[in-house]
């Protein structure tokens, strides 16, 4: 229907030369509208993506020039590196702790907020406000809150009697607790956005469904399990996927707070890429590591999408 106009104009314009020009303009116009974004997409997404891949198959000098093609040697080498294997393990461990919490916490908040009826504006703003706070500010705030000696968290735990027989935990300085502390920080930063998404989804659950279920004597949790969760499953799935990628590619708080330490306990895959590429200027190693990180995240996503067919309904 829209193209009909183009033809009619072309016919009505007198003179074949003009007609030709007009037609040409009409043909290239859509591409002109798309040109700026396409150029930048190729330049800063696809070109670097391919380049990273080629780097991972080559020897690269400090200036970022390829000196030799080495095939899969870099990949064979990197799998022999205990520090990279450690980085994969750390990332998986982080994701295993982070993803369930990052989905369940905002979901619970959304369910509670959907039921509560007064001061809604106040607590919704509270739940959503972390969205506006940057990663670096968050990290610096938590650095103080989690301080071993004068941090409020340890003070609270001490007052609750947790530390009666044990010494206070050095949250960011001990190999055992640094990763859980980073999980806490990442949950806090992500909670606002996911909460808003899930709240919008929960509010869209048809009330007739819930009412008829209550008439038949369904309890609240039954309703949540049998009605709310299936209805909001597309949004839940979206949150799950984004949080999974976020968990597997986490690096910001590591850089700001722990520098991968103590003893590599928080060296995630992307932090490894950063330290290999920019601290040791080993671009080939860094590129190989980032391709591996990408593939690992991708495999997990594929796994998700496979499950999606069974668990998510888009009706």
């Amino acid at each position: 229907m829209r193209s009909s106009y183009n033809n009619s104009v072309a016919v009505s314009v007198a003179g074949s030369n003009v007609r030709h020009k007009k037609k040409l303009v009409n043909v290239i116009k859509p591409y002109l509208f798309l040109a700026p974004i396409t150029i930048f997409t190729i330049m800063f997404s696809y070109y670097p993506f391919i380049k990273t891949f080629i780097f991972s198959l080559s020897k690269v000098n400090v200036a970022g020039e390829i000196t030799k093609f080495v095939g899969l040697d870099n990949y064979i080498d990197i799998w022999k590196r205990p520090d990279f294997i450690n980085a994969i393990k750390v990332s998986l461990k982080f994701a295993a702790m982070f993803v369930p919490l990052a989905v369940i916490c905002p979901l619970l908040l959304a369910l509670i907020a959907n039921r509560a009826k007064f001061m809604t504006k106040f607590y919704q703003t509270c739940f959503a406000l972390p969205m506006a706070v940057s990663m670096s500010a968050t990290c610096l705030i938590f650095k103080q809150l989690l301080h071993r000696r004068v941090g409020l968290l340890n003070y609270l735990l001490e007052k609750l009697g947790v530390y009666e027989n044990v010494t206070a935990i050095d949250w960011l300085g001990s190999a055992k607790w640094a990763l859980p502390a980073l999980v806490l920080i990442m949950i806090w930063t992500g909670i606002g956005f996911n909460f808003m998404l899930l709240l919008a989804a929960v509010r869209n659950v048809p009330t007739e469904l819930l009412e008829s279920a209550s008439l038949e004597g369904a309890s609240y949790w039954q309703k949540v399990r049998k009605i709310v969760i299936p209805v909001i499953s597309p949004t839940l799935f979206f949150v799950l996927c984004t949080q999974m990628v976020k968990g597997l590619t986490m690096s910001g708080p590591v850089m700001i707070l722990t520098d991968g330490g103590p003893l590599g306990a928080t060296t995630t895959m992307i932090y490894y890429v950063y330290s290999a590429g920019f601290k040791s200027t080993n671009y080939a190693l860094g590129s190989t590591a980032s391709v591996c990180a990408f593939l690992i995240a991708f495999v997990f996503l594929l796994f998700n999408f496979k499950y999606e067919k069974r668990g998510v309904n888009y009706d």
Partner: protein, 283 residues
């Protein structure tokens, strides 16, 4: 004697108060770190080493930390940098993605689906995997330590293209045909009709993009090494690393960089909720 019905009603009333109070308490817990940070800006540097730790400062009238940060550190310059970067990235992003969305919404042309897939496909590539190559590109172009070098990677936003396409599709093709016959070209139609009609979407996406770019850390850290080109996010961590005893200054700095974002957020919250829910509910 109370009937069953009345009991049920009372229980419902109780639940309703209970969840409301619970929500308020949870909200306060979540917001606590922010409250703590703002309060800490008013404390003296020594205050942070005292045990037991205190939440509230002795007085809110002690502005010396804020004055120090504004006059003695580069934080104002960092804020200017971040502002320029976030604003220019957001504007260019909006222009690029509305233009692209216009093309996808109103034209039929060869390769439309392929191009759409290429642009939306960037959502699958995590930006972290591109750091090294993008760094090399920017340094080869001689853009290290420039605004252009920092913002150039933010120009493409696939999700914006997606949302604007949805929004433009609500404008009927008949309207566009009518405009055509009146001699209104595509560019004019885009400027005079599409942009004003999608104003709510533009504000929502624009504000959230501004906040996102303002908050980025890693990329600006990589492509700048000159003091005066740092962004606030990088600058504030540098301030904290440079003098670990000056925590009062750090928290004052955090307060200063947080307040604009919180204000922006308060203004845009309603808009953003609408933007988020309209785009994502369908999964």
């Amino acid at each position: 004697m109370k009937t069953v019905n009345e009991k049920a009603r009372q229980r419902k009333k109780f639940q309703y108060y209970f969840t409301s109070i619970l929500s308020v308490i949870l909200g306060l817990i979540i917001i606590f770190p922010l409250f703590y940070a703002i309060c800490s800006g008013f404390k003296d540097n020594i205050n942070f080493d005292n045990y037991p730790p205190r939440i509230l400062p002795e007085t809110f009238r002690n502005l010396s930390n804020f004055i120090y940060v504004v006059t003695k550190t580069l934080i104002p310059r960092y804020m200017l940098n971040s502002f320029v970067i976030a604003l220019s990235a957001t504007l260019v992003r909006l222009i690029f993605s509305t233009l692209a969305a216009y093309s996808f919404a109103f034209f039929n042309f060869k390769g439309k689906n392929v191009l759409f897939f290429i642009i939306v496909g960037t959502m699958m590539i995590p930006s972290e995997a591109l750091l090294i190559s993008n760094y090399l590109t920017v340094s080869k172009l001689g853009l290290l330590n420039t605004y252009a070098g920092i913002v150039c990677v933010y120009f493409v936003s696939a999700s914006q293209v997606f949302m604007f396409r949805q929004s433009f599709k609500t404008i009927s093709g008949a309207l566009r045909d009518a405009a055509y016959i009146d001699g209104c070209g595509d560019l004019l139609f885009y400027i005079k009709i599409c942009i004003p009609v999608s104003r709510p979407v533009i504000t929502a996406l624009g504000l959230s993009s501004f906040i996102n770019v303002w908050n980025t850390y890693l990329w600006p850290l990589l492509v700048t090494n000159k003091e005066e080109m740092r962004t606030v996010q990088v600058g504030i961590t540098m301030l904290s690393n440079a003098d670990s005893n000056a925590k009062g200054h750090v928290f004052a700095g955090i307060g200063i960089i947080l307040i604009p974002m919180i204000i922006l957020f308060a203004i845009s919250q309603r808009n953003m909720v609408r933007g988020i829910s309209s785009g994502a509910v369908k999964g």
